[in-house]
C-alpha cells in the first residue's frame, strides 16, 4: 500500500503539486490523468524521490520513503520515464538488464529475463538484443523503456506515459500485456497518461489532476457516472460517457436466456463492442459464447438500460 500524504511541491513559490493525498492499494493499477502541466510527472517523481516534496510524505507499506537511501529506494521501484530515457551507449539487452545487474543477478538469469521481456513486447530477442537504442523506432524504444522498468519484477511500478509513442494496435496489446503481467505478479502500478480512454481501460482507480490538485480519485465507473467537477466531466468527454461506461463491463454481466440470430460474441466482449455489433449488423440481440459453447444472449435493450441507469 502506498500512502501519499498531503504532498506538495513548490517551484518558485507556485505549487506544481498541491497538497495531494491518495492511498494506492497493493496489486492495483492507478491511472493518473490530467492536462499537460497539471503536475502528474511531478507527483510520480516524488514517490521515488527524484523530486523532493516541499512538504508532506509518502509511505510505502507504512515506511516513509525518506527512511532509505535514494538509490536503494529507486532500485526497488520500477520507473518508466516519459520519453524512454534509454542509455544510448548500451545495447537493448544491457538497457533492459540495468536494474537486475545493479541488484547483482547472475548473468544467465539476466539474459533469460531480457529475452522473456523482449518476447513479451513482440520484439524477437535474436533480432533486437544487440541493437543500440538509436537503431530502434520510437515505439520500440518506448517498449524497451517499459521492459527496463519491469525487468527486476518490482512490486511497485511508476510509469510516465509509457505508451505515448505506440500505434493504436501495439498500444492496445501493450496495455493488455501490462494488465496481464500486473495480475500475474500482483504488482502495484501508478501510470500517468493524457488519455482518459487509456486511464479507464487500464486503471482499477483513476486519479484526475487539475492544476496541481487531485480533483477526483475513484473507480472508472465513478469517474464516468459521477464526475466531481466540470473539469472531470469534460475529461471523460460529455457525449461519449455512456460508451465509455459500457466499455467497462463485459457482456457476461447482462447475459440472459432467449433466442438470438447470427454469429456469437465471446462473453468477455465489452458491452460497448456488443452495442457496436448490434448496430452494425442490425440485430436486437447477440448470442454469447464461452469457450465455444453458447451460454445465452445479450440484448440491445439490456445494454441500453445499463447505460441509462448510470446516467
Amino acid at each position: 500500500m502506498i500512502e501519499i500524504d498531503r504532498i506538495t511541491r513548490l517551484y518558485d513559490g507556485k505549487p506544481a503539486v498541491d497538497a495531494v493525498s491518495m492511498t494506492v492499494e497493493t496489486a492495483t493499477i492507478t491511472a493518473i490523468v490530467g492536462t499537460s502541466g497539471s503536475g502528474k510527472t511531478t507527483l510520480l517523481r516524488m514517490i521515488n524521490r527524484l523530486v523532493e516534496p516541499s512538504s508532506g510524505e509518502v509511505r510505502i507499506n507504512g515506511e516513509p520513503t525518506t527512511g532509505l537511501e535514494k538509490h536503494v529506494l529507486r532500485r526497488r521501484i520500477g520507473y518508466a520515464i516519459q520519453g524512454h530515457g534509454l542509455f544510448p551507449h548500451h545495447t537493448v539487452a544491457r538497457n533492459i538488464g540495468a536494474v537486475p545487474r545493479l541488484l547483482g543477478w547472475p548473468a544467465e538469469k539476466i539474459r533469460a529475463r531480457v529475452d522473456e521481456l523482449l518476447d513479451l513486447f513482440s520484439m524477437p530477442p535474436a533480432e533486437f538484443r544487440d541493437r543500440f537504442p538509436a537503431e530502434l523506432s520510437g515505439g520500440q524504444q518506448q517498449r524497451v523503456g517499459v521492459a527496463r522498468a519491469l525487468a527486476s519484477r518490482p512490486d511497485l511500478l511508476l510509469m510516465d506515459e509509457p505508451f505515448g509513442a505506440l500505434d493504436p494496435i501495439i498500444r492496445t496489446r501493450a496495455q493488455e500485456d501490462l494488465r496481464r503481467i500486473q495480475r500475474a505478479l500482483g504488482s502495484t502500478i501508478l501510470i500517468v497518461t493524457h488519455d482518459m480512454e487509456e486511464a479507464i481501460q487500464l486503471g482499477d482507480r483513476v486519479a484526475v489532476m487539475d492544476a496541481g490538485r487531485l480533483v477526483q480519485h475513484g473507480t472508472p465507473a465513478e469517474i464516468i457516472t459521477r464526475p466531481a467537477t466540470a473539469f472531470v466531466a469534460e475529461m471523460v468527454g460529455g457525449v461519449e460517457r455512456p460508451l465509455r461506461l459500457l466499455s467497462l463491463f463485459p457482456v457476461s454481466d447482462l447475459i440472459q436466456e432467449g433466442p438470438a440470430e447470427g454469429a456469437a460474441v465471446p462473453d468477455r466482449t465489452s458491452l460497448r463492442d456488443a452495442l457496436s455489433t448490434c448496430l452494425w449488423t442490425g440485430r436486437d440481440a447477440l448470442p454469447v459464447e464461452r469457450d465455444g459453447q453458447r451460454i445465452g444472449r445479450v440484448t440491445l435493450d439490456a445494454i441500453r438500460s445499463r447505460a441509462e441507469c448510470h446516467a
Binding site: 521515488n48 529507486r74 542509455f87 541493437r131 537504442p133 538509436a134
Partner: protein, 248 residues
C-alpha cells in the same frame, strides 16, 4: 576507402624512412643544404629524437588529460559549480602565456632539459581538454540522466557508467587538439635542451641549413597528421560502437 588506406600506408612508410633511413633522402635534400655542408643531421639518431619527442608529448598530454578531466568532473558536480569560473580562468591562463615565456620562466626553477618543456606542453594541453570535457559533461541527454537516477544508479555509478562514456567522444576531440598542439610546440623545447625533433630544425636555422629544417619539419608534420588521423578514427569508432552515430 581503399585509397584512404593506401595513402595512410604511404605516409607511414615515408615517415619510417625519414626517421630510420635518413641517408636515402640525401639526394633530395642536397639542393637545400649549404655548399659543401652536411645534408643529413647526424649529431643524434633521428629515431631516439623522435621517441623522446613523442614521449614528452605523451607524458604531458596524459597529465593534462588527467588534470583537465578531473577538474571538469569536479566543476560539473553541484558542489563544484562555484569553482567553474575560477578553473576556467586557470586553464585559460595556460593558453595566454606564450610557450617561449613559459620555458624561460620554468628554466630557473626546473633547470635545462625536459622539465620546462613538459610544463609548457602540459599547460598548453589543459584548455582544449577541459573545455570539451565541461561541455560534454554538462550537455548530456536529460532523459538519460533522469533514467540513470530513476533506476537507482548512485553518483559514482552514474559518473562511470553513463556520464563519462557518453562524454568520451567529445573529450577525445579535446585530447586530439591538445596532442597536435603539443607535437608542434615540443619542437621549441630543444631551445632549453630538451631532446626533441626541434633539435634538427633549430640546428638547421642556426647554420642556415634548410635541408635540416625541411627534414625535421617533415617528420614532425607527418607525426602530427598521422596521429590526428588515428585519433579521429578512434573517436568515430567509439561513437559508432556506442550507438551514437545517428545522434552525432
Amino acid at each position: 576507402m581503399r585509397r584512404g588506406i593506401l595513402l595512410r600506408l604511404a605516409l607511414v612508410a615515408l615517415l619510417l624512412a625519414l626517421v630510420l633511413r635518413p641517408a636515402w633522402f640525401a639526394p633530395i635534400f642536397a639542393p637545400f643544404a649549404p655548399e659543401g655542408g652536411p645534408v643529413i643531421y647526424d649529431r643524434a639518431s633521428l629515431l631516439s629524437l623522435s621517441l623522446s619527442h613523442l614521449g614528452l608529448v605523451a607524458l604531458a598530454s596524459a597529465a593534462a588529460t588527467l588534470v583537465a578531466v578531473t577538474l571538469a568532473i569536479l566543476v560539473t558536480r553541484p558542489a563544484g559549480a562555484a569553482f567553474r569560473p575560477l578553473s576556467r580562468t586557470i586553464t585559460n591562463m595556460g593558453q595566454t602565456f606564450p610557450p617561449v615565456a613559459v620555458l624561460a620562466l620554468a628554466v630557473p626553477a626546473l633547470g635545462f632539459g625536459a622539465g620546462p618543456t613538459l610544463v609548457a606542453l602540459f599547460l598548453y594541453g589543459l584548455l582544449p581538454i577541459f573545455e570539451n570535457a565541461v561541455t560534454a559533461l554538462s550537455n548530456l541527454p536529460p532523459a538519460t540522466m533522469e533514467a540513470a537516477r530513476g533506476i537507482g544508479l548512485n553518483r559514482r555509478q552514474r559518473l562511470l557508467q553513463v556520464e563519462l562514456p557518453l562524454a568520451l567522444p567529445v573529450i577525445l576531440t579535446g585530447i586530439r587538439l591538445s596532442v597536435v598542439i603539443a607535437l608542434g610546440t615540443a619542437t621549441i623545447g630543444s631551445t632549453v635542451a630538451a631532446r626533441t625533433l626541434g633539435e634538427v630544425i633549430i640546428a638547421g636555422l642556426l647554420t642556415n641549413n634548410t635541408a635540416y629544417v625541411l627534414h625535421g619539419g617533415l617528420i614532425v608534420g607527418l607525426f602530427a597528421v598521422l596521429i590526428y588521423d588515428a585519433l579521429v578514427r578512434l573517436e568515430a569508432g567509439l561513437s559508432r560502437r556506442m550507438g551514437l552515430a545517428k545522434a552525432a
